[in-house]
Assembly symmetry: none
Homo-oligomer: 221 residues x 2
DNA sequence: CTGTACCTTACATGATTTGTAAGGTTATTG
DNA sequence: CAATAACCTTACAAATCATGTAAGGTACAG
């Protein structure tokens, strides 16, 4: 069943939304702990996220951006503010649609169905500024080009994407590739990084993987 | 450059839109012959279509539906009517977004950029009823699953998809795989078909490649 | 300049893909 | 129902591709 997660601190509205969506045949979950929204939403792996902007701990805009980086699919921002600036900002940060409260039940459902229809059959993609990665097959998309990475290349790039824009240490990458950091040949990771960069260059992605001397690697952008 | 096609019969508004979009750096074309809108738009192959609902010859809704069937990418409906029913109808017929006139220039541009962003970096996918195929990397998508086919498997499936629902002869497939039909071992194609079917079964696609005895193969669906 | 951290290239091993061969199954026809 | 042709499956070996290792090179900090 299609699962929708609601991020809304107004309990009354939350109940109302859950009711509407339940009646429309969706499986609905609401976030309760507003300190770990991103983590919780990612764990729930919803088909769509209904996101309020006015949230107690963190702004909905920040949440939106983080969720998009984690590859969480369609986000519909729902807010009581009726400011154009908010809408522009929201769309810029990666929201897929934007509705202002109060909003007619049918309009909400139509927009939700519209987003779901467009995402269905589409690959789950983790996006960066210039490219996207299918975390399943390690297929990389850049504009109209696409290329399949090898297992190791894909694992490294995925880790960098998921931790963007943080630095990922060599130790973490070693664990990721071979299950342990106590691997003998320290050079193996280097070689795999070289290979990844070479492959990225094939689709015109130069200087994407940045070296932070003594710390590790991170994605540039 | 990104090309936007405007379908709008109000000349004044048309000019205004062209001006806004040109200044925003888009290549803009406007439809002049309202009797052959669909054909003209398909020929222009735009990156986005701006579509009015109140059109002289045919309703914008019909146009929208036809364009979507032709695979024309994102359609933004722009109309002076402010009726919820119109919006619901438009979204149902496959429109990707909906705005009511009068509309602030920045909101229009934000929505356009949003649609383009979502379509960009998305793989070019050839779709069937149950699955899609990236013709470039031979990555197959079925619901939330994805799998990379081998070169030969991919070539065969792509040919079947492109000729759907026609039959593709063995001779054509031989030419596709080895450049010539006069290949000695007639069995090689068989083996590759068996492999393709086995791979398809891995993602739950049973009986997708149908054998037409004496004629060739075709996609079922 | 020196040392350390990082990068690159080449090569051998192991995994995957692919053509070939051999034999089995299914459908049509007399 | 038997004979035949079209099609399917499995197993194996050669070719291709991915990956760890080794050896040597480059860049940066002190």
């Amino acid at each position: 069943m299609t699962k929708i997660v609601i991020v809304e601190d107004d309990v009354f509205l939350q109940e109302e939304l859950m009711d509407i969506l339940n009646k429309a045949g969706f499986e609905v979950e609401a976030i309760t702990d507003f300190h770990h929204i991103v983590k919780e939403v990612v764990t729930l792996a919803p088909d769509l996220v209904l996101l309020d902007i006015n949230l107690p701990v963190q702004s909905g805009f920040e949440i939106c951006k983080s969720l998009k980086l984690k590859g969480v699919g369609p986000i519909l921002i729902l807010t009581s503010r009726d400011k154009l600036q908010d809408e522009l900002h929201g769309l810029e940060l990666g929201a897929d649609d934007f509705l202002t409260k109060p909003c007619h039940k049918d309009r909400l459902l139509a927009r939700i169905h519209n987003l779901l229809r467009r995402y269905k059959g589409q690959p789950e993609l983790i996006r960066s500024d210039n490219f996207s990665l299918d975390p399943n097959t390690f297929t990389l998309y850049k504009e109209s080009q696409s290329i399949v990475l090898s297992t190791n290349e894909g694992k490294i790039l995925l880790a960098l994407l998921q931790n963007q824009p943080e630095i990922v240490s060599k130790s973490e990458l070693n664990k990721l590739l071979w299950g342990t950091d106590e691997y003998i040949d320290e050079n193996a990771l280097q070689v795999n990084l070289t290979r990844l960069r070479k492959t990225l260059r094939q689709v015109g992605l130069e200087n994407v993987v940045e070296t932070v001397r003594g710390k590790g690697y991170r994605l540039r952008g």
